[in-house]
Symmetry: C2
Subunit: 213 residues, 2 copies
């Protein structure tokens, strides 16, 4: 059975969980807490030298890393990846946007608020991260003013990728109030068949998030 190595509160990992659920695929989840070094052990680094989650492992031991590449592999030849080459390229474009212009700000602001100590020097970065987060959200809002989804004509991989950290942006002090189209899109994603919610942060993380507000 396919194994997914993932850290449950991670949006990058939730992407894989969500799409596997929607594809009704059986898999084994191997909880791998990157916040306490579980991706830096010799055993893990032997499988993924870049030391990150999520990681997909097939029965025969072959490994695939990078959340958005995993989504494309899982969605290949399903309605979650457009069959049309131009629409597939547009979906990929949004997935690269997610990893370059969105996740390094929206996800990192959330991580700092929820998973670093209240006196972490990384908190000095929050104003800049939040400003860049809003830059990314404005680009998304503008797209959604004219299109219902990010994956061509219907819900798919790019929506899964962008949903992960967008819907929990407020954990990092990034309000979604200015973005009515994003809020409507989040509601549409949550109503897709087989949708599973992202696990809530544990009590300690939620306490830090509340204290960062």
């Amino acid at each position: 059975m396919t194994s997914v190595y993932g850290f449950s509160p991670s949006g990058n990992c939730h992407k894989v969980r969500l799409l596997l659920a929607q594809l009704r695929r059986e898999y084994r989840w191997v909880e791998t807490d990157s916040s306490i070094g579980a991706t830096r052990t010799p055993e893990y680094l032997a499988k993924n030298p870049n030391g990150k989650v999520p990681m997909l492992e097939l029965d025969d031991g072959r490994v695939l890393v990078e959340s958005n590449a995993i989504l494309c592999w899982l969605a290949d030849a399903t309605p979650y990846l457009p069959a049309d080459a131009w629409q597939r390229a547009q979906a990929l474009s949004w997935m690269f946007f997610e990893q370059y212009s969105h996740e390094p700000y929206v996800a990192v602001a959330r991580f700092i608020c929820g998973w670093t100590p209240a006196d972490s020097p990384r908190r000095d970065d929050l104003p800049r991260l939040r400003e860049r987060s809003h830059d990314a959200l404005r680009v998304m809002e503008r797209h959604l003013a004219a299109h219902p989804w990010f994956t061509g004509g219907q819900y798919g991989v790019a929506d899964v990728a962008l949903f992960a950290y967008t819907h929990v942006a407020p954990h990092g002090g990034v309000s979604l109030d200015p973005y009515p189209h994003i809020r409507d899109w989040i509601t549409r994603v949550q109503a897709t068949p087989g949708f599973v919610p992202m696990p809530a942060p544990d009590a300690a993380a939620q306490g830090r998030i509340d204290a960062s507000a």
Copy 2:
């Protein structure tokens, strides 16, 4: 004719130029100097709200952004993109690695050295950027110890993506001396059919690069 909006010294833009040359495709290059705001004009932002180069524009006005998505679109149904789904996923994985774990360090160190003033406060980031650059290069070196290419069994999109900034890493003060497999791979890439070199930095940028060494 397809238009490519690009800034010539940019590795992300060179990716598109290189693959188009290797595909023997005609195109129009529209020089767009992002270092002096040419991607922030109202006209440009109307086409690409994220305000970045490269951007591909088709005859009918349709636009595609994100360098690695452009590569996948151009390479679709050619030998530069693997036909096998698993190998295609691995190539995508390396392309996401490039944008998340490589470009933000290797390319940014180079940009700071060559395209910011000698007294830029951004230069304080260089030690951290160089350390992370070496992390990425070590992951590449390890792969190349066992495989000739990053795009499955032959040269293709992931090699184009990773070549762009890797071969000019020394511009950012990131030496390739510790990486013999990377240096051999660079030589192999430069020997592929239709290869075109990346334009050299102009004299002012080269002067700043030399002064940063």
